[in-house]
Amino acid sequence: MTTVELTCICCPLGCPLTVEVSGGEVLSVEGQSCRRGAQYGRVEAVAPERMLAFVVPVEGCLEPLSVKTAAPIPKNTMDAAVGQLRQLVVHPPIAQGQVVLENLANTGVSVIATKGVC
């Protein structure tokens, strides 16, 4: 059994959470002042996820393209994801919402443009 210490980020109170984990299963969450904290601790302790926003160069253009993951990706894939995005160069025109990369770092999540360039 391991103990994970976290800070709940769901509201400014920032309750210190203590999560007991065994074999990838959450046994208990303590320290929260409300249910949102329990839920946050449950996910954050064993399977934390993050949205990733990034900026990639556009061929033939000075202004770069802002992109994001279409869904949160597991935190432990972040390094691989960032490594892959640093290699990416896109070709205009690109519409906002367009997929610029599929299956980022084998997460099954795609990367989409958050603005358009033409």
């Binding site: 800070t7 980020i9 509201c11 400014p12 109170l13 920032g14 002042s33 993050r50 949205m51 990733l52 926003a53 990034f54 900026v55 160069p57 556009v58 253009c61 000075l62 202004e63 770069p64 802002s66 994001k68 935190k75 972040m78 960032v82 640093r86 205009p92 025109p93 519409a95 906002q96 958050t114 603005k115 358009g116 360039v117 033409c118």
Partner: protein, 494 residues
């Protein structure tokens, strides 16, 4: 490269060209600044039936949102988390959706002349333009507190940037400002930039904060610093810069938490090529100040009433230009109020005939009037600058009396700072405020001080935690406060 979602009304531009030679362009409402607040104001004013001009110095609208590529915008307004550019695109699309707004891109407003008709002087690639309207909305956003605000000794090498400038470099111009970075100040922009620079390959050595608590949101501390192993050092400041030409190192001292002065002998050298300053935002109030609007020494923005009207009748303010917002959703909502009220004030002036000496124009005719360039002598001659007309038609402000809304114990400021008569006979009034310290398990109390020392409670809002970093908004029913001398907002600790 132009963002394809940006508006650049060809019509307005060619009209502008024409106007440059033939005199001022007339509108009902001119909105200055096309960020979140200005976009919402322009749309709301157009929805009231006003002819609206929206002026921004950048080639595309969206303001600060364009460079905020991170996620976390719009949870209130769109019930979904968007990036800055996505939020801006939605607002721009909503504006383009059939509303009669002429957009002037790459147009910098140099001055606003108050009076029954406001004259807005604009520098644009087309030359100098003058836009005239009975109502103006100031939505010029914020500026960053700069190095001058700090007490640094040593050389003045390059490599020192405000966090927002660095954000613009990286996210809109595609260049990395440096490789080894120290961030001074734990404001949200600094935290977000610490993550951005790390993601893009720079090494962020640490964030140093003068106070003994971080000033940014906890969410950003966890997701921007902890996630990347970037240390946060509290009660520290940069006291000296080192480097000829380019920055080579900064010297960091511990700070006495009581006096906030550096403690002698604690200086440590940190090698770096870049220092980012994230020491706060201030309202961009140049135009308001020059026009003669009364400013608040606390917010740095104009003093307004519940309609977001400044001390200058017909001049309205909203968004970061009025007071610094942490949530864009609130800036948009405030812009809507300012735009709607500006349109109503302007249309009332038009309907009263005070400007042209004509009886009120039907809606269609107003359209034509708005589009017609008027020569400047006409504008002065027929737009009724006489005092009688001004007080008769321009705005209620010249006639109403105001009740101050003041911060009491535990509250740093309240916006609006004053309430006009009509605040007390309608629906609830929205108050925005910031607390002056960190409080737990208390409540925010709004009360009316009546003649004869009677105190009428208007609202009590309990909270688990209140911190200066988060703006609080309250809807307060005011009908029972009719006739009061003052509205007071304070924190009551449990």
């Amino acid at each position: 490269m132009a963002d394809e979602s940006a508006l650049s009304a060809e019509g307005a531009l060619s009209e502008g060209l024409q106007a440059a030679s033939s005199g001022p362009l007339n509108y009902d409402v001119v909105v200055i600044g096309g960020g979140a607040a200005g976009l919402a104001a322009a749309r709301a004013a157009a929805d009231e039936g006003a002819r609206v001009a929206l002026v921004d110095r950048e080639p595309s609208q969206g303001g600060i949102l364009r460079q905020c590529v991170h996620n976390g915008f719009g949870l209130h307004r769109f019930a979904e988390e968007l990036t800055g550019p996505e939020y801006a695109a939605r607002e721009i699309a909503a504006l383009a959706d059939g509303s009669a707004v002429d957009v002037f891109p790459v147009a910098t407003v140099l001055a606003v002349e108050a009076g029954p008709v406001k004259r807005v002087s604009v520098a644009s690639p087309l030359g100098a333009l003058t836009l005239c309207a009975p109502a103006v909305v100031l939505a010029t956003g914020s500026k960053e507190r700069s190095q001058g605000a700090l007490n640094l000794s040593g050389s003045r090498p390059s490599g020192v940037f405000s966090a927002g400038t660095a954000q613009n470099f990286m996210n809109l111009q595609g260049c990395l400002p440096g490789k080894r970075v120290v961030v001074l100040g734990s404001g949200d922009i600094g935290l977000i930039m610490a993550r951005r620079m790390t993601l893009q390959g720079a090494e962020v050595l640490g964030v140093y904060e003068l106070m003994d608590t971080p000033s940014g949101l906890r969410r950003n501390i966890v997701q921007c610093l902890d996630d990347f192993g970037i240390p946060l050092h509290l009660s520290r400041t940069v006291t000296r810069l080192e480097g000829e030409g380019r920055l080579e190192a900064v010297w960091i001292s511990q700070v006495d938490s009581a006096t906030r002065k550096p403690i002698p002998g604690t200086e440590q050298r940190v090698e770096c090529d870049t220092l980012l300053l994230s020491v706060g935002l201030l309202p961009e109030n140049k135009l308001a100040k020059a026009a003669g609007a009364q400013l608040s020494p606390i917010t740095g923005g104009a003093v307004v009433d519940q309609r977001m009207e400044t001390s200058l009748p017909g001049v309205f303010a909203c968004g970061n230009a009025l007071h610094i917002h942490d949530l864009v959703d609130f800036a948009s909502a405030e812009g809507e109020v300012a735009g709607r009220e500006a349109a109503r004030a302007a249309l009332a002036v038009v309907a009263s005939g005070a400007l042209s000496g004509l009886p009120s124009l039907p809606d269609g005719a107003r359209e034509a009037r708005g589009a017609q360039p008027v020569s400047s002598s006409d504008a002065v001659g027929s737009l009724g600058l006489s005092a009688g007309l001004a007080s008769g038609g321009t705005s209620r402000s010249s006639r109403v009396s105001f009740v101050p809304a003041v911060p009491g114990e535990g509250v740093r400021y309240v916006v609006p700072q004053r309430l006009g008569d009509d605040a007390f006979d309608g629906g609830p009034v929205k108050l925005s405020l910031r607390v002056s310290g960190s409080f737990r398990n208390g409540r925010i109390v709004v009360e009316a001080l009546m003649p004869g020392d009677e105190i009428v409670p208007l609202k009590r809002k309990p909270f688990m935690v209140a911190v200066p970093a988060e703006m609080v908004q309250l809807e307060v029913p005011m009908s029972e406060a009719w006739g009061c001398n003052e509205i007071r907002v304070r924190v009551e600790e449990a």
